[in-house]
Amino acid sequence: MTQAFIFYLLAGVTLLSGLMVISARNPVHSVLWLILAFVNAAGLFLVIGAEFLAMLLVIVYVGAVAVLFLFVVMMLDIDFARLRAGVARYLPLGILLGAVLLVEMFLVAGAWTSGAIAKGVRAAPRPEGLSNTQAIGTILYTDYVFVFQAAGMILLTAMVGAIVLTHRERAGVKRQDPARQAARTPVAAIAVVRPQVGAGVETGAGVQ
């Protein structure tokens, strides 16, 4: 009973916050609702006993990805009026996409309850005496280690690509060289000059 209650609570809040993501007037509020949806999804993982995935969802999505979202959205200067103007024009396309997704989800739900693969997965439970974390680690790093490595390489490529696309050399940038700064001594940095009265000091004379 309690489990069902918690499930419906978490699922309800997830759906509600999902709805608020697309209907909130302020984009920052949208992102905050999205974060609430993430946290509730993590709660749903906990309800089915996948505590490792729940923690990863919170750490990776809520703790890192959503912070970057929030960071970017907060700094954007968004014109709400123009954002709203396109709604009517894109509504049919949106409804079409939603319908396609809905049909696909029903198909997936049907396959899950009846398909041979799904039954096979459920017939092979977690090995006895292994926690979730260890079971996932064993599968990921022994059975599927090459696929895992390939996924890592793809992510690395994406990261390098993003850096290459956005990086540009700018002229006239003064860079910090911490090693040089730390190695600077008073002898090298200070020059004691004794100028003649009224003669002044040449700019930069004796000073690095």
Binding site: N26, L32, I35, E51, G63, L70, M74, P178
Partner: protein, 351 residues
């Protein structure tokens, strides 16, 4: 205790009441310790600067935190007219609640832990990574320049140092072969030469302990990394527009996070509730006392750093996080795991 309540009140209600009492039994002392920690903090700074510190309210100024609390409680809550009201009020609550829920998995003694879950360390990491929302939301919702800059700085800073903290935690987890905090503490029992129960004395983990301490300073926005609230440039950073209890909650959340990081450092590197030397008479002292002493020691280090180290520049902060800590901790994970495989640490059936 849970069983007794369940027999008296039925399974569901008994469980609920028992856990409610357990939560209070942890939260209230934690809050009391947190209040007193502000006093310890101020006394330590004062002594280091040859001042007296709080000494008027109560003996040795011991009642100062409560006087401050009452003063804040009696003030008016001011919400700026341009602020986003909901977010502005929720932000301090998030900051406070998150700092409090993390204590659920801290083992105060062998078996003396509210939730002995097998992903305890990940839970702590997740909660501490959520802590950034309290700050970034309060910074944005204030709708004012200084808080906004403070919020942005803090978000970037906390995300940066979380990465290296993650790798440092993995090094300790590799030694303990578990994410459970009690297991991590127990794995340190007599681990060094069969005598000392402290990970920090392990030559491979000592650099990680130092890096963890520095990252913890950055993660909790403490000096020398307190740029989000650098008073010389940002007034009070993300707290600028807050007053009364909303401000108190932000402040309490901050101190509670500091205590949490101290507890985490004690558990990961100083042996948690174990006595420092694996010697029978020392076990007569309750584990919670050892944990408290270690926590106090790390807290003293935090105060010491604040009293003696000047603030970092922002680019230096980012350089330290991304260009030094991240590569070193990543390399160290490879080194530690290589060493453990080489010495056959995992041959005993661990996964």
């Amino acid at each position: 205790m849970v069983a007794w309540f369940q027999s008296e009140l039925g399974t569901g209600l008994g469980w609920f009441v028992a856990h409610l009492l357990l939560v209070l039994a942890i939260a209230l002392p934690v809050m009391a310790v947190m209040a007193m920690s502000t006093w310890v903090d101020r006394k330590v700074w004062a002594l280091m600067q040859l001042r007296k510190g709080p000494n008027v309210v109560g003996a040795f100024g011991l009642a100062q935190p409560f006087a401050d609390g009452i003063k804040l409680f009696l003030k008016e809550t001011i919400i700026p007219s341009g602020a986003s009201r909901g977010v502005f009020l929720i932000a301090p609550m998030i900051s406070f609640v998150l700092a409090l829920v993390a204590w659920a998995v801290i083992p105060f003694d062998a078996g003396l832990v509210l939730a002995d879950i097998n992903v305890g360390l990940l839970y702590l990491f997740a909660v501490s990574s959520l802590g950034v929302y309290g700050i970034i939301m309060s910074g944005w919702a204030s709708n004012s320049r200084y808080p906004f800059l403070g919020g942005l700085r803090s978000a970037a800073q906390m995300v940066s140092y979380e990465v290296s903290i993650g790798f440092i935690l993995i090094c300790v987890v590799l030694y303990a072969s578990s994410f459970n905090l009690t297991d991590i503490v127990e794995s340190q029992k007599g681990a060094i030469l069969g005598v000392f129960s402290m990970n920090i004395l392990n030559p491979l983990l000592l650099p990680m302990a130092v890096m963890f301490f520095i990252s913890a300073l950055a993660e909790t926005n403490r000096p020398p990394f307190d740029l989000p609230e650098a008073e010389a440039e940002l007034v009070a950073g993300y707290q600028t527009e807050y007053s009364s209890m909303a401000f108190a909650l932000l402040m309490l959340g901050e101190y509670m996070n500091i205590l949490l990081m101290c507890a985490l450092a004690s558990i990961l590197f100083l042996g948690g509730y174990l006595p420092p030397v694996d010697w029978a008479p020392l076990y007569l002292v309750p584990g919670i006392v050892w944990l408290f002493l270690k926590l106090l020691f790390v807290f003293f280090l935090f105060a010491w750093v604040k009293a003696s180290v000047p603030r970092y520049r922002y680019d230096q902060l980012m350089r330290l996080g991304w260009k030094l800590f991240l590569p070193i901790s990543l390399f160290w994970v490879a080194l530690v795991s290589g060493w453990l495989v080489f010495t056959g640490h995992f041959s005993g059936g661990g996964a």
